[in-house]
Symmetry: D2
Subunit: 389 residues, 4 copies
């Protein structure tokens, strides 16, 4: 039995992000008939506005699923068993996505690199250039690695593919980036963009998204992987009439409606610069504590989360437990190869300076309580940054 914890929980994992009360209220609306006229209007309005979020005029699919389902959708709609996919291995979520591909009977190749630097476009170009016979059918990577806080430069990787004159489909996971930092599905000629609801879109988990290029859509004609639930063409055909081929997650769609309203009220540019500024403040705190940022590439710092390495001999998860028990705050765990060594501070979604300051204060107190070697006062570095910028 746990002790009563007063006050608001600080949900500072890199998603799900703190649920804004406007969205909490929106999802509590009475469910409506998913075949009625009000629902049809809702669908059309959502799909149109989602286009702005993904910067695309191409179709977007919304699934009643977690983002993991959208990963699967990207693959089963475009590929056939045994086909070769190049996964740019930038962190745990890139690995997990490649596991999905593997489970589905695809041939997975992992282009390894340094997780702390992000994917190297020239390595992608080199690998694709080697592939003269075009065995690689798709190149997949994660825009913003949720497990580490390293951002990959999608435009540069697009360029790498073009430089290699390679025809592979380009698939990008934007789960923890979309709605929090610039992302241009059309301009960067991404073929399949994969997202979820519970990060920058500020919703609870339960919706998956894929944005699709014409090339990806054409690939459905030849792709042989069995599919039904994830089948794009079925959804698109229903979506034209404002419907879905099966009962959609109506109440989460109410939340999405409100989330889009909020994002446009604030303005996407303001949303992006707010994330960037808060992320800088978080890193100022980490540097102030004399702890080590996981990300070694300044150009790749994530605006939505910061991965922090623990000093040797200190367990990140024990630290996280203390912070949870004592300060009612959830921080992100280290995943995969960095388990125990890293913790993650989520600073995305509906966040502001004081919520971040509370978050960083909780980290600072946790460091002190757990006797983790650090320089006190990192919080003041963050505040300084925020005042000056």
């Amino acid at each position: 039995m746990e002790a009563y914890q007063s006050g608001r929980h600080f949900l500072q994992i890199p998603g799900p992000s703190n649920l804004p009360e406007r969205i909490a209220r929106a999802i509590s609306r009475s469910t409506i008939d998913h075949r009625g006229p009000e629902f049809v209007q809702l669908t059309h309005s959502l799909l149109e506005r989602l286009g702005t979020i993904f910067a695309t005029e191409n179709p977007i699919i919304v699934y009643p699923s977690s983002a993991r389902g959208a990963w699967e959708a990207a693959l089963v709609n475009t590929l056939s068993a045994g086909e070769h996919v190049l996964f740019c291995d930038s962190g745990h979520f890139a690995t997990l996505w490649s596991n999905v591909a593997n489970n589905l009977g695809l041939e997975v190749e992992r282009l390894t690199g340094d997780w702390r630097l992000g994917v190297d476009p020239s390595a992608v170009e080199a690998r694709l250039s080697e592939d003269r016979e075009g065995r690689i059918k798709a190149v997949a990577l994660v825009h913003n690695e949720t497990s580490t806080g390293v951002v990959n430069e999608i435009a540069a990787i697009r360029q790498a593919i073009d430089n290699a004159k390679h025809g592979a489909l380009f698939m990008v996971d934007v789960v923890s980036s979309v709605g929090s930092m610039p992302y241009l599905h059309d301009e960067w000629q991404v073929d399949v963009t994969v997202a979820g609801s519970q990060k920058g879109l500020m919703l609870p988990p339960g919706l998956g998204f894929t944005a699709i290029s014409s090339k990806a859509l054409a690939a459905t004609q030849t792709a042989q992987l069995p599919r039904s639930y994830w089948d794009w063409n079925a959804v698109l055909s229903f979506n034209e009439r404002g419907l879905f081929p099966y009962t959609p997650a109506t109440n989460l769609l109410f939340g999405l409606d409100e989330a889009l309203t909020m994002l446009f009220e604030e303005g996407l540019e303001s949303v992006f610069s707010r994330h960037k500024r808060l992320a800088s403040a978080a890193r100022a705190a980490v540097r102030g504590w004399d702890l080590t940022l996981y990300c070694l590439n300044q150009a790749a710092y994530s605006p939505t989360l910061t991965g922090v390495l623990m000093p040797d001999g200190h367990d990140a998860d024990a630290f996280r437990r203390t912070v949870l028990d004592r300060f009612n705050m959830s921080l992100g765990t280290g995943l995969g190869q960095v388990k125990g060594q890293l913790f993650r501070i989520g600073h995305l979604g509906d966040l502001n300076e004081l919520m971040l300051a509370g978050t960083l204060s909780g980290v600072e107190m946790g460091l002190q309580l757990c006797d983790i070697p650090h320089r006190p006062g990192g919080i003041t570095k963050a505040l300084d940054y925020l005042v000056r910028h």
Copy 2:
């Protein structure tokens, strides 16, 4: 632009059912860390109590998906491409499920019968007896046909399979029955039970369920259909620790928690008898109007919805539109082969006598407004029934 409609919407489709305000509030709770201790407790508590709902001691899987996803899960976890599934064709949803199987590359055989009578156990027995070489790997059917309001007798079909001494897996869709009428996964030796959140469980759509027998679980060892999102073993292994292999639909799980609390507060037996009683009252009204019940088999009347046939020359959907526009009530459309001929009255979930009376009043006024031949006063037959029982 539609006119303002005052008062509560009557969502009398056979699911999603009217969202109870307790559940609306539950799903508006702040999202929590899906890897934290509070979530772990929630998972264990949900899974344990779901066992009572499905009457099983075997595992239950909860997906962030619509029920359609759970159909797919039932198939991909247990079967291999080209394997033969016998679908007992009892209505539109049975057809849709078989389409899923078809999409996934299974060999579908439809055991046709009279939709208005329900599946004939002896036909099942006869067909399985013919299948001496055991080509049929699974027998699938819908417990309560949501498209028509006809209930199939699962125990009798179980008996038919046993009589035929056939080893096929037994798969049952209980989407619109579970939580509203007795259903016994273990006792009836069902191998895969498929359900959704938005009917008797009173939640918004967005959760899919499968209850699994040991035999079904064993089938995962040999089943070759590609699977990742729907993979039972992955979920079960995470569930043991109170976790999920991917971000679950946390806020809908909060709603599920409250829904289970409500069901047990009322008592499952009371819930079932309430549904039965309200359904009888609805049929009394239909008979009072001198309209025709779609279901011709008295033993197969559905406790959760009533399908009503329109007199010849009258369009059920025009009628439904009038009811929606004039009385702020959604009725169910006819699906598939009964499109336009049938409308459905949903009377499931968190319902009581007066909500039903309002519903039937709306139907009666709609009949009058649309000049549909009928005997007035059906509503009073329903009230009589309710007073006497």
Copy 3:
């Protein structure tokens, strides 16, 4: 311990009315600083729009109080101890208001009449004409008697006062009329209009209102009754700056904001005709049952509630208990001199045809269960009325 009751409660007392979910959500917003700029905007916006509801360009005061407090406010701001107030005795609430006056040390005169007919303007005129020395300082009455469902004609009584050339202040309680039927504070030259939040304004209880004429405001200069909480001048002076002299009931004001939005979305004329139409349907049912309407004056039928007399020897409250226990519906009790003889059906606020039909169905079933002599089928008379109008 009471049995679990499924489904929505039907709150069919004549206020509080059924809480619309939009308002439920609005009052659940986070409380804001009642001295901050957002609050100032809210105050100005509310007061301006309330003017439309009361049809006045004069000030309106909103109290954190029940409507009973607003009764008191009307008196203490305008009168002095021992002054004479003529209460037109039209029902229990008129009596209660006169009791308030009595408690406060005013001299109360009750102009009795027939509760079932409503206040007779000529009796008012006659009484005021007698009062040559102007001892009567105020004439007070209830617009729509919530205890009986009889409407008094305010314009005619205004005319009666004018005919008598009497200078008394004119005070009108519109608790169960405002927002549900036409009311014209300025045009009818009412000096103090008293209202509450929980009826036609669709809010929970907790706000009281007074609309004030210039004459009433001038009376504050000479009125000697002690006052502080209810003091108009203090509130008006703060309201000018968008503030209140003490902490207002902020969350109910959020609800009021939404309620006003809803009323204007529907349009006041539509709101009024909806109430009138539903009330006619309710009376059609009562006549159908061959029960007796309390109101004997056809011109005085209330659009917001219907008082129904029980046949001799039958207790209205026993009947109401049965309806509550069996059908999860609250009906209004008989108050004061009609206790046990009368029950009231509230049909006001955010209501529609099917909610009313459910309500009337509950009454019909209750009559039957309690063996109260009646003609069955009243509900169908209501439905007939609704279809034809």
Copy 4:
């Protein structure tokens, strides 16, 4: 038009306090019949549990009103026009309460003292000792001065009254103390305790409370001030049956029900020590900034708010505006004689360490942005305190 502000507002005025989401949900429940059996149960349960909060076995009255109304209730139920009340002048709210008394026609005497030290019990004793003829009928003071953050020692003042062998009624305002720090209505022999909902009770504003001694109740027999709405005897007589003499603020009572549940879940002792600890941390920050605490008496530091003096020549309200505009946080203004010189940090209700840290961070950044002379790093002093205690 104000800029969009992302994230949660920090409502750090000394009440209303941040609305906990559990209470937000509770007040959004559907309103129920205030004369029905469910309501009766609610009333009894609330009144019983409120006794624990006020530490009394005597009756407690709950008004649909702001706390200002409860001030008035305390006076009108126990006193007669022209009677003498001694107000211990400890801050703006003490002044306001005495103004209420003055408005109501009571004779007000203000016992002045140093606001920064709190009420001096010996001064009370001296004054009462002089009053040999017993002209002073009541001694009134504020337990925790919301305008300054200075706590008066109620037990000592009780002792002072006893020492003076004076029979005056003892009236105490606990608006910003009850539920946040120990308060013992019975043990300290307070005759009337006055409270509101929106501070330590964590509700939105809209409920006023008075706890009453037998002596106070007896005083109603002789008290001549006119009263109706505030009349204790009327309420008590209805409360016995679980009812109220007029429509109560039902939805706020739902919130009160939840608030009491929360307070008892955490445990009152834990609630009190949490407030004390957070207040100490806040003062550590103030001292860290080298700013001046308004309260000069260490024994009188408030656990619920901290009043901070601005350096000469700096306007507290300009500072507050900056903090609101830039950091989405409301701080308390200086009231009355300290307008512009003082700001107040509320740290009461449903608060925790990180919410406080965010609050103090906002203050620190505001000080810097407004060029207010201070020593940076006060926030770290607060964190140090919290880690060590």
